[in-house]
């Protein structure tokens, strides 16, 4: 039975927020850090409360820590050694394996994210700007009284126009699929993965093998916790639109190129496997149909959805590629940062993109696998390609669109995205936060 009142709400439910603020924090000493946690503890929503929340209950703060943060707060080296290796090393140390090279290298990451002094992130959600300003002022007030805790950097997250659908800067509809956890009372939509065992995302529960992985120590800190992988990706909207224009003479052709690279139509999110030639917003809006497809039987050669399309790489659905698809899932949270670039505006050089957290129980099996293999492995399904959005691109690789009698190639895929930041965090349960606050 999931202890919803002890699990931070962050991975289990979405508050009715359109704005968020990420504060990356540093502590000068353990006592200051513990006091900061204690001060904010009452604002941190648990899953049970937030799932049942009304508009007046907006305890939507979440808090997570780096390995250096736990060390600073007083977790011993012996205890830290029981945490996972990627978490202890940090994302920047694993950049080579993840494929974060060239412009994506941690040397170029922003927001002081690679600093050894990064100890925690606090995520403040708000339903509107007024509420956000109130939250920021409240946080500032705590910091004024606690000079040992400082903000290293901040990132403002806000939905971008048009507001009639959730999307990122390229215009692709977001939040179409998300894993369902057994025992949450939610039924997966047809075609989605069966519910995952809680242990795939939350520590201390049985995972999909039926086994319960031993908790990192101390268990008072780690039970009901999760690992988070943070990723900030700049989106080069101008380059993306230029590429569509260069590869499609009409708007319809450009939309088809955009859809082929993603595997779904851009605005509606309708899957190409079910409507390969023309967008079908009605189908897209029907959650009994919009995810009800496979590749193995319905589109084995990729004539509808190319083998290398983003959704086909990151959620392969096929047993011939993996037997443990359910064990590669992540719960993705986050949103867009930076200014909106209107459709008819030229590239303005502004920094805009997405900043997301991937929640999981095993950083290596889940997050790192997705990035290093499914996004970046050029031998994936013998394509000699990388994921057009999540993979590292430098113009040297193509993207194949299977087509009779012979396939079409989108040549020299440029970098539509650049990794601008990344870090691993541990998201404790509510009692875990209390444990940290009460350490002496």
């Amino acid at each position: 039975m999931l202890e919803l009142e002890d699990i931070q709400h962050y991975l289990l439910t979405r508050p009715h927020a359109t704005i968020a603020e990420y504060h990356f924090m540093t502590f000068s000493d353990a006592a200051s850090g513990r006091r900061w946690i204690n001060d904010l503890l009452h604002t941190i929503g648990n899953a049970k409360t937030v799932m049942a929340a009304s508009d007046t209950d907006m305890r939507w703060v979440s808090m997570a820590f780096t390995a250096n943060g736990l060390r600073k707060l007083g977790i011993s080296e012996t205890e830290l050694a029981t945490f996972s290796e990627p978490f202890l090393q940090g994302m920047a140390a694993r950049a080579g394996m993840l494929g974060d090279t060239g412009a994506n290298h941690p040397d170029n990451w922003e927001d002081n994210i690679t600093s050894d002094n990064l100890h925690a992130v606090v995520i403040l959600f708000a339903k509107d700007r007024e509420e956000k300003d109130r939250c920021l002022k409240a946080h500032e007030a705590y910091l004024v009284n606690n000079p040992g805790v400082k903000i290293l950097s901040t990132l403002h997250i806000e939905a971008i126009p048009p507001y009639d659908y959730v999307h990122e800067h390229f215009g692709y509809r977001d939040r179409i699929t998300t894993p369902v956890i057994e025992g949450m009372g939610v039924e997966p939509t047809p075609g989605s993965h069966p519910p995952s065992k809680a242990g795939e995302f939350i520590l201390g529960y049985a995972d999909d093998t039926g086994e319960t992985v031993p908790l990192p120590q101390p268990s008072a800190l780690t039970r009901n916790g999760s690992y988070l992988a943070y990723r900030k990706m700049q989106e080069h909207v101008g380059a993306f639109r230029d590429y569509l224009r260069a590869n499609g003479e009409t708007e319809e052709e450009q939309e088809l190129v955009a859809a082929k690279m993603m595997g779904r139509w851009r605005k509606s999110g309708a899957p190409l496997v079910l409507c390969p030639h023309k967008d079908d917003p009605e189908l897209a809006g029907d959650n009994q149909r919009n995810n009800n497809f496979d590749y193995e039987k319905m589109d084995p050669h990729g004539y509808a959805c190319p083998i290398g399309a983003h959704i086909r790489r990151m959620n392969v659905r096929d047993n011939s590629v993996t037997r443990i698809m359910n064990r590669r899932l992540i719960i993705r949270r986050g949103g867009t940062y930076g200014p909106y670039l209107p459709d008819d505006a030229p590239e303005d050089g502004a920094n805009r993109g997405i900043a997301v957290f991937a929640g999981c129980a095993d950083l290596s099996r889940q997050f790192e696998f997705l990035i290093s293999v499914w996004a970046n492995d050029t031998t994936f399904e013998e394509l000699n390609e990388r994921d057009p959005f999540a993979g590292v691109q430098d113009g040297s690789l193509d993207f194949a669109i299977p087509k009779k009698p012979i396939k079409k190639k989108l040549k020299n895929i440029p970098a539509f995205t650049t990794v601008r930041g990344g870090a691993y965090f541990f998201l404790p349960g509510i009692s875990g936060l209390r444990y940290l606050a009460g350490l002496t």
Partner: protein, 183 residues
């Protein structure tokens, strides 16, 4: 294969040291050779367990007969299991030729080992971690420590994948069928 390099046989001598190799999630990645990715694990058999291991040959035979694609995610060309004793006790050798690096799909491999009973072979080997069901890093460490990398590999048709071989044979069969239909 995008070119015709498969037409020229190739041999590659592999250095002993793993220094300078690309690092995977769990350690060094031995590079692909003209004979594709290889995996040769040699470990000592726990006294009295020979029959348990030998009998599993039959289990795998039956598993593949019942479900021919049961090992598909491993992207295998060939598997060879050998039991031998050169005077220091009975040893088991698991040799596989793959198209993907073992490290990339290690969790799939371990899940397959579990579901097909291959793990039952490993639990009869010295050094196999007791917490193998929940500790992938420990299992991977066992494979790394018992992996004996080749120092020479040769490919008559270098770097060709099993999928490419099957595609070529399917094409050949389709052509034969087409010619039959034109008679």
């Amino acid at each position: 294969m995008s070119d015709n390099s498969w037409q020229t046989p190739q041999a590659v001598a592999i250095p002993k040291s793993s220094d300078g190799l690309e690092k995977g999630r769990y350690g060094p990645i031995w590079p692909k050779t003209p004979a594709n990715y290889g995996f040769t694990v040699i470990a000592k058999v726990i006294e009295g367990r020979e029959e348990a291991i030998r009998n599993y040959g039959k289990t795998i035979e039956e598993a593949v007969k019942g479900s021919p694609d049961v090992l598909a995610p491993l992207k295998l060309h060939f598997l060879r299991w050998v039991l031998f004793d050169v005077g220091s006790g009975l040893h088991f050798m698991y040799q596989g030729i793959f198209d993907t690096d073992f490290d990339k799909y290690v969790e799939d491999a371990i899940a397959l080992f579990n579901s097909t009973g291959i793990t039952t072979v490993f639990v009869n080997l010295e050094g196999w971690p007791e917490d193998w069901k929940t500790n992938v890093p420990a299992v991977t460490k066992f494979f790394h420590e018992h992996q004996r990398p080749s120092f020479l590999e040769y490919g008559e048709y270098p770097f060709v994948s099993a999928d490419e071989v099957k595609k070529a044979l399917r094409l050949k069969a389709a052509f034969s069928e087409m010619l039959d239909q034109m008679q």
